[in-house]
Subunit: 206 residues, 4 copies
DNA sequence: TATGAATGAGAATTCATTCAT
DNA sequence: GATGAATGAATTCTCATTCAT
């Protein structure tokens, strides 16, 4: 059992512990990407990490905790990557383009991460909290997109359309990217990103 | 001995056998929709169908085969529903609209089916062939869409865009529908369908 | 998974199922008696019963259920043995004597059963419900003894003493019997029973 | 290397070592009393003591040794408490009363200790030697009681009864006290002690 | 055809104990 | 003396699949 600080909740982690957790998370991502969530047992993950299965439980009290950490880690990494691009967009069209192109490029650069979180998100087994978190995260993203579209409509930059439908479709199209890039590894990523942004630029503009 | 239900042998099925298979498939769909793929064990499915677990194996040599049959059955049902609407479209825009609206309405009318196939498609456990088949089916659908778009561009009805990106996005947006309808049960389906079609009409038109 | 009838709760058991359950309960009693509760794993119990460990889970959904069934089975057997003796006691002293002597003789005849339930009752692991049930059963027994003593006092047959203390002590003394008989296998059981009854006859009589 | 803490070697313990052992024993008692023997892992005990799990093994070569030390410590504490009361008993009845009342009051004053040793005594896991020692200790106590009763009978102060049965029953009734006090926290301890002593005074007197 | 008892190969999880630091 | 990361064996439980009936 891990010395989880019951009171405050967080338990100050040592350097070595943080490193192990990172290593385990990385091994989990790779394993899921390679053999799929359902076959990604602790034994398999541990083999890849070169540790004993028990050590995973030592660092992550439950399988759920590990999976949630994978989610958090990947989303965090993605957020950092996207926020860099998002700065300084001069129009609603440009802002959406930044989001879409940023996401596509992130997918191209981190395929395993994307596969992992998508599989965890749709896994039924020992991923309840991770899935819940992902759902909430998704809801937040949708709300932000809706808000952006609504603003654009209010100032007259965007045509009148159902902002919810648009937001859902944009997100769906972005999330289809990893599978597409995996299916067709020769895809010209920059072009794909540009075309996807073009598509929705036409869809939102008057 | 069992009926050989593999590819080559094919084995002419009796009426009662066909009926049982249909019953089992239906019970599988309901079970997955209700408790999720991971918990949909043979015992659970058999309970719902009112039969013994052994009988499932008798009719479907492997779990995979059952799941693949679920996929085939649902897609077949969906194809029949869509082809009815698709007839007599007078433009590429109208044809796409027929597909999109048909799909959305199908989702609203058959939620369990959609949940089932989406869970099977993203399950790694004992769904290899089903997933492979779904992937191929997806590829066929994409190709058809691409072809349609290309024709529209060639005759000058549609603007120049990357037909692959468009096809992937259309499919992704459609497949996001079931989750959206589940999350927001009060959605006005007809309006959602119309708006989604509008979106892509703007995206493809010059 | 076992076809546990969720609605009514009970699930009509077949003859063969009942037989297996009985066999597993018997093997559990023997195993606990021999190597102790904590070492009585499913593997050990199954070995003794000559079945596979999985079969135990098949018949008893949780370890707890098995342990509770052991409790119920033993108490039921004991009740049948005691009620035979209890009939026709002509005084409060005689009634208590019947209980005490009956219990002691049962201990002598079924040592393994007694060891098993005592270990389960004091086990912390996967015996929550069984322990709870035993506690309640104990409480009921104590209440019955108290009631009997109170009546005897009211009619003037018994001296005035704290009925609770007496009930607790009688029960404790009886439950100490199995360990004593185990420690000293040469004990003259009939004499032991008689002496124990004598002891409490002196204790309760004026 | 560790301090040899086995029988023969014995190893003169330093002050700090003695202090640590005492601290660990105390933490063990508290932990078992609070969460039960089965859940009282080294990690839990160490948390309560504010030390690392490894340190427990450092001071107690095996888990068994720790549990035995708990037994020894509690019994020692109890012996000191009882011997104070036992001085100056002027009759066999008075001597027995001193023992019984002393024990009951000790139970009321040190509930955690009693819970701990009773759980250890009935635990099968890693408590073999502790249990063995407790059994022997019990045997010694029984022998002393028997001896006392025999003397009383020889001088004619006590009636003729089976001294073994009486000793076993007295001990059993005493050992039932902690559970009773736990079940009924409002019990008047002094009264309970007096009544229990009364009970056996009647049982042994002519 | 159909049953359902039985198997056996995993799965996650727990934890005393070890050992490099 | 003390730490705490790491191990590895053991545990219960799940379930597709088999097979005697």
């Amino acid at each position: 059992m891990q010395p989880e600080n019951e009171s405050s909740g967080q338990h100050q982690r040592s350097f070595i512990e943080e490193a192990r957790r990172g290593q385990i998370v990385a091994a989990t991502i790779e394993t899921i990407a390679e053999i799929g969530y359902a076959k990604a047992s602790f034994v398999r993950i541990a083999q890849r990490a070169g540790i004993s299965p028990g050590l995973i439980t030592y660092h992550f009290a439950k399988r759920e905790e590990l999976m949630k950490q994978v989610m958090l880690t990947v989303h965090d990494s993605m957020d950092r990557a996207l926020s860099a691009r998002g700065e300084g967009a001069v129009s609603y069209q440009a802002a959406l383009r930044a989001i879409i192109e940023g996401f596509v490029h992130y997918c191209a650069d981190h395929p395993a991460e994307l596969i992992a979180i998508s599989q965890i998100a749709s896994a039924a087994r020992d991923a309840e909290t991770a899935r819940t978190w992902a759902t909430e995260q998704n809801a937040r993203t949708l709300t932000e997109l809706e808000e952006m579209f609504r603003e654009g409509q209010d100032v007259g930059d965007l045509r009148r359309f159902d902002v919810r439908v648009m937001a859902v479709s944009v997100l769906a199209a972005m999330e289809a990217t990893p599978a597409e890039l995996m299916t067709r590894p020769d895809t010209d990523v920059a072009r794909y990103a540009r075309e996807l942004a073009d598509l929705f630029e036409h869809a939102i503009s008057a």
